[in-house]
Amino acid sequence: MKVSKVMTAKEAVSKFIQDGTTMAIGSFFHTIAYDITHEIIRQEKKHLTICAPSFNDHADQMIGAGCVDRIESSYVWMEVFGPLYCFRRAMEKGIPHKIEMEDYTNFAMTVRLLAGSLGIPYVPVHSMKGSDMINYSSWRGENKVKLLQDPFGSGVAHALVPALNPDIGYIHAQRSDEEGNFQMWGILGDAPFSMRACKNVIVSVEEVVSRDVIGRDPNRTVLPGYKVVAVVEAPFGSHPKNCQGYYGVDRDFIFKYIRESQTEEGWKKFMDEWVFGVADRTEYLKKYIDTFGMKKFMDLRAKDMSSSSVNYGY
């Protein structure tokens, strides 16, 4: 009998995320684990290196809280919604402290994680060639990217980007069993490679389901559960972002964060209310419904557009 890995976000973060760790934060806009992110902030983790092809407000919140020293990514911004002010304050003014970033491209970061997931040392790409991302490095120096003439004689030089193998990764997903065989659908973002590249993985999910549910549709499983060290059940764990089949993007809440985080004081007030002022995701949800009403909450919920199932028979 396998041992259940289901635990609270509090236990998972305190047990598996150490100060100074290199951490991949999975997904692209959709299914980002805000529940784990907020717990990292509440536990005041320090000196983290955070890695992902692209980051949004979850990274901004960790930067503002002083958890982050280094970023390996291509992007820290809130898309069409606007800039992220903690990131800008840290990069421009060293508030709350100076942080460093190694700038790659979205594809370069994705293939760095692919290389990490396959156990190969680097990948040659067209991306980054001729850009200043080649000329400037923050801490990796010569080991950020190298140019190499194709040894097979095409006559073209490529940028070699190194594999990335973070100590730990975390991600939000639709469902997992107790052993950590988790499944995602919709926009997969940097998954499955980002999480496969990590030594250990924490997954937070909308629902913990039986192993039997997973086994009925195994093509949807992101990685084998043996890599997963903790499964956290966190309905609405990706709010204010979306989770396909569960809820949509909370545009108003994203704009609220951007508006309030324009000043340090505004940002602190937001965080006191929505991160430090709640013990866990259950309290966060309760606070959300108390503040914005049940109707707003219900409006976020996804309608049923279930797919037809496939026959796995033999």
Binding site: F28, F29, Y75, P83, M101, F107, S131, G186, F193, C243
Partner: protein, 259 residues
């Protein structure tokens, strides 16, 4: 009788201008905002066989509701294929896509784009988002459409930081890199339409928007901008295109602010 769609806003003109750049049957990687409106307008009019691809991995998607972000869940149901970054940017990197959209904080004379910093890289005066997929799209797509706010500080002779190379310092330089993609073909700015000289690869003004003068465009550009011999006013969008934009593509006015 005046038609309520006779009039158009700057944003609508830019969306229409972007749409005109897309040919039927092309594979296009699009972002949110104006590129999205332009691409869907093309698909609803002259380019019904366009294949819309999002960075988030939604391929040949036909959303019934306007997506608010490149990773909006409305993109997924009805798409021909849904993957992740690897599936979308992999197609870009391989050189299979015809058109990509780009933007940034600065663009220079040869179409090089900056989306990183104003000032020193290590101690920036302003720090921006970074490349995201823009460098990848610039390297891989057969051609790119750049959409830019036309201001002097955003159109310097040389960008502070090259995020996405255009034609580097001019003729022949891009070819040496071996990119699958051909570089920027047009800049749809907030003042007019600019292209790149066939031989020198220097940017020039092709047409100016109604109400904008060539002098104003020159004054808003950080180098001595070349003007096409046959420079003219940008073609006005037909009322039908404006109707489709307002009523079918962005009926709630998410991107096109209601006048």
């Amino acid at each position: 009788m005046t038609n309520e769609y006779d009039d158009f806003t700057l944003q609508e003109l830019m969306a229409v201008s972007a749409a005109r750049e897309i040919k039927d049957g092309e594979k296009v990687i699009i972002g949110t905002g104006l590129p999205l409106l332009g691409a869907f307008l093309a698909q609803k009019t002259h380019a019904p066989n366009m294949i819309a691809i999002y960075e988030s991995g939604a391929i040949d998607c036909k959303p019934v509701v306007t997506p608010l972000s490149v990773a909006d869940a409305v993109l997924v149901p009805g798409a021909a294929m849904q993957g992740g970054l690897m599936e979308a940017l992999g197609l870009v990197h391989k050189g299979e896509l015809d058109v990509g959209f780009l933007g940034g904080a600065q663009i220079d004379k040869y179409g090089n784009l900056n989306a990183h910093v104003i000032g020193d890289y290590y101690k920036p005066k302003v720090r921006f988002a970074g490349s995201g997929g823009s460098n990848d799209i610039g390297a891989g797509c057969k051609r790119t459409i750049v959409m830019m706010l036309h201001q002097k500080q955003r159109f310097p002779e040389k960008v502070d930081f090259v995020t996405t190379p255009g034609y580097f310092g001019g003729a022949g330089q891009r070819d040496k890199m071996g990119f699958p993609g051909g570089g920027p073909s047009v800049v749809v700015s907030t003042m007019g339409i600019l292209r790149f000289h066939r031989e020198t690869k220097e940017m020039y003004l092709e047409s100016y928007y109604p109400g904008v003068t060539i002098e104003q465009i020159i004054a808003s550009t950080g180098w001595n901008l070349m003007i096409a011999d046959d420079v003219k006013e940008t073609e006005h969008p037909s009322p039908e295109l404006i109707r489709i934009l307002r009523e079918e593509i962005d009926p709630t006015g998410v991107f096109l602010k209601k006048q």
